[in-house]
């Protein structure tokens, strides 16, 4: 905190305007100190340490040996890790693509005309967003169970052949877990896109109507371009939760059957606490955060180009 106070002191010895500003510039950093201490110590430092650990082979107890890029080679070649990353990326379809499409449709329908109860619709659709994901997982575990409500309904309507233990099924477990993600994130997408639609200038719709555009063409030519910025945001937010998903998979399937629903988060947990491969887990975590960062940067760039 050394400042060039003397250089800018006025004749009377009072601090002049410009030096006051310089002084204020440095002292304003003091206001950041508490936030910096928590964030630096408990978020950034562990992250850096995780990157560092990813270059070691370590079981979490004994001595670590330098591994160079060995762990990263495993991330790219070891079946478990490749599958986990692929599953995480695949969840983007369920956490991002479906919710944005569904959210846009619901938002467009709500915004199309004022109607009683649309406040209620919004409140209810947003509800999954505020629940602990563990609880969501527990609820869906029950819904998907062999004798659970979904199968009961299927049997009741004569589709008993389709009924199965969804989360234990090698083919269906992955989409079944994905649907839970769609259920959770659609409400947020709907709210984001509704906020966007409500900002669209109504005269654009009038102009479209004068050009004899029906509701569908109005949707494509006015609504969708009008909410471009909000779509970018919805995609960014949901994409991070797709790639970083943990709670739902951990509770519903634990990654199984086999490795059908394993995602990076659950595999990292297993690598550390079941097979004591700490370095490898850190390499996977590093790759995961790099993928998220690249995706967010690319989406941000696409969004800016469109604006």
């Amino acid at each position: 905190m050394t400042e060039p106070l003397t250089r800018t002191r006025g004749e009377s010895g009072r601090v002049t305007g410009s030096s006051r500003r310089t002084r204020r510039g440095w002292s304003s950093l003091l206001y950041l100190v508490p936030a910096f201490v928590f964030y630096g110590t408990f978020t950034i430092a562990p992250w850096v340490q995780s990157v560092w650990l990813s270059f070691w082979e370590w079981d979490g107890i004994g001595a670590a040996t330098w591994a160079g890029f060995e762990n990263y080679i495993k991330v790219a070649t070891d079946e478990r890790l490749v599958v986990a990353l692929r599953n995480g990326l695949g969840f983007i379809v369920f956490y991002t693509v479906f919710p944005v499409i569904l959210g846009l449709l619901v938002a467009a329908v709500i915004a199309a005309r004022p109607r009683r109860g649309s406040g209620f619709v919004r409140t209810v659709l947003f509800l999954p967003q505020i629940l602990p994901l563990v609880a969501v997982g527990v609820v869906w575990r029950y819904l998907y169970a062999a004798d659970g409500p979904i199968n009961q309904v299927l049997r009741a309507v004569g589709l008993g052949d389709v009924a199965r233990a969804w989360l234990g099924d090698f083919t269906w477990a992955y989409p079944a877990v994905g649907v839970i993600g769609t259920w959770v994130t659609t409400g947020l997408c709907m709210m984001l896109l509704l906020a966007g639609i409500q900002k669209i200038d109504p005269s654009l719709y009038e102009a479209a109507r004068l050009d004899r555009c029906g509701p569908v063409r109005q949707f494509w030519h006015v609504t969708v371009p009008g909410v471009r910025a909000e779509i970018v945001v919805a995609v960014t937010v949901t994409l991070i939760s797709a790639l970083a998903s943990f709670d739902i998979v951990y509770v519903t399937t634990g990654g199984g059957p086999g490795y059908q629903t394993i995602v990076p988060g659950v595999l990292i947990y297993k690598l550390v606490f079941t097979s004591n491969e700490v370095g490898l887990a850190c390499a996977l975590a590093t790759v995961l955060s790099a993928i998220i960062l690249v995706f967010v940067a690319v989406i941000g760039r696409i969004g800016r180009r469109g604006a």
């Binding site: 440095w26 928590f38 992250w47 629940l131 602990p132 609820v139 700490v278």
Partner: protein, 272 residues
């Protein structure tokens, strides 16, 4: 004719959307009220609702102490986050400072960091400092992890405060800290309350950190206790459903009281 058709169609569409959210909740509540030995509860309202399932789940899983852990963690994290984010957001939103752009980007980067990427070193650090299994093991990392959003949120608020207001306060002889506490904080109340509610919800719902940094099941938070409960009583659906309702109740009640603030916070926070 056509407009009546589309009106019915769109109303039906909204109805399906609402049902897809409500039916799982209905299934959860009806399952929680079935006799505790029901293996496969049906999707009907029980003829003889077993309210005692809640008491059984409460005592079997020790939800009393789990909820208390969650509450203690949230009630420490929230004020710490609010104070730190308000100070930093005030500085970032109203003051000149060196390397401001870099500092802001540094904090903002935290919005993309997954918990998976920090939790392993945290586990070993907490273990070696003896903080593992204490509430601090979760409180401290959460306070750090909430900082990016908090600074972003409070900075946006303070940027919207008219400069004249700050200048007038300082002409009256108030220092910068007094300007914040006496002039700006009262006006920032809505922004602060929204941020406090969001951090409460995120702290309450946090699973991964609580699962890894508190290994002792009896000291865990409500959601991670629920995770353990699933593994122990996964087959006992009525008890599990009752336990789930106990864990989500506080946050659902808060949501219905402060609904607008939750929605505005999450939506505006994302959009800004």
């Amino acid at each position: 004719m056509r407009s009546a058709g589309s009106r019915i169609l769109s109303a039906a569409f909204l109805l399906v959307a609402v049902l897809s959210v409500i039916v799982p909740f209905f299934a959860l509540v009806s399952a929680a009220l079935q006799p505790a030995d029901t293996l496969a509860p049906t999707l009907t309202w029980p003829t003889d609702p077993q309210w005692s399932n809640f008491a059984t789940a409460w005592s079997m899983a020790g939800f009393g102490s789990l909820l208390a852990s969650s509450a203690i963690i949230a009630l420490v994290v929230v004020p710490v986050s609010v104070v730190c984010a308000t100070l930093a957001g005030y500085a970032m939103g109203t003051m000149r400072m060196p390397a401001k752009g870099f500092l802001f980007a540094f904090f903002l980067a935290g919005l993309t960091l997954p918990y998976e990427a920090i939790v392993i070193p945290l586990y070993f650090a907490m273990r070696s400092t003896g903080l593992i299994d204490t509430y601090w093991a979760v409180i401290l990392p959460l306070a750090g992890a909430f900082m990016p959003f908090g600074i972003f949120w409070m900075r946006t608020h303070f940027e919207s405060v008219p400069t004249e207001l700050i200048e007038a306060a300082q002409l009256d002889g108030a220092g910068r800290f007094r300007t914040l506490v006496q002039i700006l904080v009262p006006g920032a109340k809505p922004a602060i309350i929204t941020y406090a509610l969001l951090t409460f919800m995120w702290a309450w719902n946090q699973f991964l950190l609580a699962l890894i940094l508190i290994r002792d099941p009896s000291r865990r938070t409500a959601p991670s206790g629920l995770g353990t409960f699933v593994q122990q009583y996964g087959e006992n659906i009525p008890l599990l459903a009752a336990g789930t309702i106990i864990v989500i109740a506080p946050i659902v009640i808060l949501y219905f009281i402060f609904q607008r603030k939750f929605v505005a916070g999450l939506v505006q926070g994302a959009l800004k």
